[in-house]
């Protein structure tokens, strides 16, 4: 039994190795140059490029063949594969993962699950399934572990600019934020697999306060992560503050994957949690 996911799950490489997870990269483009997310282009290189490149970055889903290749490789080791993919509501990666099954040359049982999430919230769901698989779970049992985790995982993030989200067309109902004459700092979450507004503030400091209040609203926290796009100092300061609510050394810290960064621009600060909200 093996777990496959995509690069948007933002899983730290150490964890990927330890749990034996296979990650299929999405594609980032600057003009005509193409990079495989996290492989040809690290997060640091990406954010440096974001500032210097005359092009706005674009992203593309992996091809069905990319998934088929990974499935075929794993089919040599296992008879069951579970692919957990970012929200099908804003990416065609899910379809590619589905289509990849038809292109396989070897035979192996493959199931594809829409996490309806992204970033480490998706990553936590993948972690739970991979832990179950490591402990000898069947495909059904691993899928069940992932399904149970999905409603308990979510994100809240604050943006410095909505320019990138607007260009990428992934803004959904959050477009209510556009057209504001007054500068506001929007907060965004995921609901039903879609980007949804979750309030706004007049200052960055108040927006960060909201992230802390959000984490304080959990009765039980199993996993917690702080992610950012090109604002590592703020992320570190936020992790310090969250240390009062959850053991600091257990809070994952990651630079957001370039594929997400391409849609959010620099200055995104995000908390992802797996847990139960206070009633």
């Amino acid at each position: 039994m093996r777990i496959v996911t995509d690069s948007v799950a933002d899983l730290p490489s150490e964890l990927v190795a330890r749990l034996g997870i296979s990650v299929v990269p999405l594609i980032v483009r600057f003009g005509t140059e193409e990079y495989r997310d996290g492989i040809d282009l690290s997060a640091e290189q990406f954010y440096a490029k974001l500032r210097s490149s005359p092009h706005f970055p674009a992203t593309a889903t992996p091809s069905p063949q990319d998934f088929a290749d990974v499935y075929d490789r794993l089919a040599g080791e296992t008879g069951e594969i579970l692919a957990i993919i970012l929200s099908a509501a804003f990416s065609a990666t899910y379809q590619a993962a589905e289509k990849g099954r038809e292109l396989m040359r070897r035979t192996c049982r493959v199931e594809v699950l829409d996490s309806r999430l992204a970033t480490m919230a998706e990553g936590f769901v993948v972690m739970r399934a991979a832990e179950a698989a490591r402990d000898g779970a069947s495909l059904e049992e691993a899928r069940e572990a992932a399904r149970r985790a999905i409603p308990r995982a979510n994100i809240l993030c604050c943006f410095d600019t909505l320019e990138y989200l607007k260009r990428g067309g992934r803004i959904g109902a959050a477009q209510a934020f556009l057209g504001s004459v007054l500068k506001v700092h929007p907060l965004i979450t995921l609901r039903d697999g879609l980007v949804q507004p979750a309030g706004r503030t007049r200052s960055r400091a108040k927006a960060v306060d909201r992230l802390v209040e959000h984490v304080a609203g959990f009765a039980r926290i199993d996993e917690l992560a702080v992610e950012n796009t090109a604002c590592p100092d703020e992320a570190e300061a936020l992790r310090e503050r969250l240390g009062a609510l959850h053991p600091k050394e257990r809070i994952y810290r990651s630079q957001m994957t370039p594929v997400i960064g391409a849609h959010t621009g620099p200055g995104l600060l995000l908390v992802a949690a797996l847990g139960d909200r206070k009633p």
Partner: protein
């Protein structure tokens, strides 16, 4: 007769809303026509000759006209009033003449008439009733008019492709048909039937519609400085879907624009603007589709905000207000009620943004049928802070709490020219000096706005402040405001300072500090 017709329209308003796809699919045609008819009825409810009643109704409709369809309807009523002028009673001959004259005037009101709309239904009906005018039988005449309107209505999808694609008839035409139906019922004496008619539960088929952008701006123009033709031409340059309807001395204008503040500034130079309202059509359309696709979903409250200038209207609309009432003078409770009723949601929050408007807002709350909460913002800074905290995806109760909380966290500074020399609160003010009021109290007066503002800010714990928004008035140039903002940034390096055109006529600066 008009009353029965209106009641009939009331019963059908939401169904007619659901037909609305042209010119803008915002689903408000039935409501707009109903609000317009109600305004006509209110004005005409006194006794008098046919001519006097028709005249008063037409004037009332004109003043209260809402939306494209409402303005066309009001113009039709004006035409009818002109046609029955001096008549002792009303019969088929008078009505026939009234129909034709009203139809002609309605065509003239629309800058680019489109066939397949309520205009077509009006014209074809008024032509079809000609043979019935001489017979003197009013019920027969109205039945003929109804039949003709029904036939014309059925043909609207053949004339207007967008209706055909959506699989609907024209909403305004349907409204007219419903009004005629009401008139028929009145002459038949079938009043019970109207009251008992149930609201249809599910709207008919409607196609996916293209997203709408822009704002709907409506106002009354009096004391105009140019001819009606010139005013129409000038306004035509400023927006689309222009409708200008009027009687001597009074013009009702409706148009769509992406730049409502620029439009309002330009329109204000053509005469004196009253009953100015700006609506966000995108929000209206969203609410309409949401209602259609998920009839049982809870719809978030809508916010109606009152502001003193066009720039501030833009700020509030950008933050999610559904309707903004722009007033130099305080709006009446009735005007606020109309704004509340024209908002798409059944639950409405009102932000009066002025302590002198709170009472009118409270009154408006009790007058209508919607569930209304007045959030007692006493100044524009509080109102905008409350709007920033507004979350359309949240319940009304959660919003009420967080909006009121946000309101209390902001300080308001108002700077205006003193009209006389006085001493207040221990502060001496000379006439023409700039006086600064902090949260309603006079705290400083100086020869320049910058000096008055600096002195006033010294009363606040500025080391804790994060944002300062400076809304400059109609009499302040953008360059002046930008220089003032720069000097405030120099004084308070950690403060985020923004200078935004407010367009208010009285206060040079309205400032919010958070």
């Amino acid at each position: 007769m008009l009353e029965t017709a209106t009641r009939c329209l009331q019963a059908q308003a939401s169904r007619i809303d659901s037909l609305n796809v042209f010119p803008v699919p915002d689903g408000d045609t039935g409501t707009n026509m109903l609000l317009t008819m109600r305004a006509a009825l209110r004005a005409a409810s006194r006794d008098g000759s046919v001519s006097a009643v028709a005249d008063a109704a037409a004037r009332g409709a004109l003043l209260g006209a809402r939306g494209n369809s409402g303005v066309i309807l009001s113009q039709f009523l004006v035409g009818m009033a002109q046609a029955v002028k001096g008549a002792a009673g009303i019969g088929p001959a008078e009505l026939g003449r009234a129909f034709r004259h009203g139809s002609a005037l309605a065509y003239k009101a629309v800058s680019q008439p489109v066939e397949g709309t309520m205009l077509t239904v009006l014209r074809e009906t008024s032509e079809a009733v000609r043979p019935f005018e001489s017979e003197g039988d009013l019920p027969a005449f109205l039945e003929a008019a109804l039949a003709a309107a029904g036939a014309a209505l059925a043909r609207t999808p053949d004339l207007l492709p967008v209706l055909r694609e959506a699989g609907v008839v024209d909403a305004g035409g349907q409204g007219l048909y419903t009004l005629l139906e009401g008139m028929c019922l009145y002459t038949r004496g079938d009043l019970q039937f109207v009251q008992a008619r149930p609201e249809p539960s599910r709207p008919g088929p409607t196609a996916e519609v293209a997203p709408t952008s822009g704002f709907c701006v409506e106002f009354t123009l009096s004391r105009r400085k140019h001819s009606l033709e010139r005013v129409t031409r000038e306004l035509g340059k400023l927006g689309t879907s222009l409708i200008v309807a009027g009687v001597p001395g009074l013009v009702r204008v409706h148009l769509h624009s992406d730049e409502p503040d620029a439009l309002i500034r330009r329109a204000a130079s053509l005469g004196s603007l009253e009953q100015l309202q700006v609506r966000d059509m995108k929000r209206q359309q969203y609410a309409f589709q949401h209602r259609r696709d998920e009839p049982n979903a809870v719809i978030a409250p809508d916010v109606v905000a009152v502001v003193p200038g066009a720039g501030l209207a833009r700020v509030c609309l950008g933050l999610g207000a559904a309707v903004v009432v722009v007033g130099v003078r305080s709006p009446s409770a009735e005007e606020l009620l109309e704004a509340i009723e024209s908002a798409p949601a059944a639950r409405v929050f009102v932000l009066p943004n002025d302590k002198n408007i709170i009472l009118a807002a409270e009154q408006a709350r009790t007058l209508g049928s919607k569930e209304v909460s007045v959030i007692p913002a006493t100044n524009i800074a509080q109102g905008i802070a409350a709007l920033v905290a507004f979350r359309p995806e949240q319940t009304a109760d959660a919003n009420l709490r967080s909006m009121q909380e946000a309101m209390s966290a902001v300080h308001a500074l108002e700077v205006c020219q003193a009209v006389r020399t006085t001493r207040l609160n221990g502060v001496a003010v000379r006439k023409n000096q700039l006086a600064a009021y902090l949260d309603g109290e006079l705290v400083a007066a100086a020869a320049s706005a910058g000096k008055a503002i600096r002195e006033a800010l010294a009363h606040l714990p500025m080391e804790k402040a994060q944002n300062l928004a400076l809304y400059y008035g109609a009499g302040v140039r953008a360059g002046q405001a930008a220089r003032l903002a720069d000097s405030l940034r120099a004084d308070y390096p950690r403060l985020e300072v923004e200078a935004i055109s407010g367009g208010q006529p009285v206060q040079a600066y309205l400032i919010g500090v958070e």
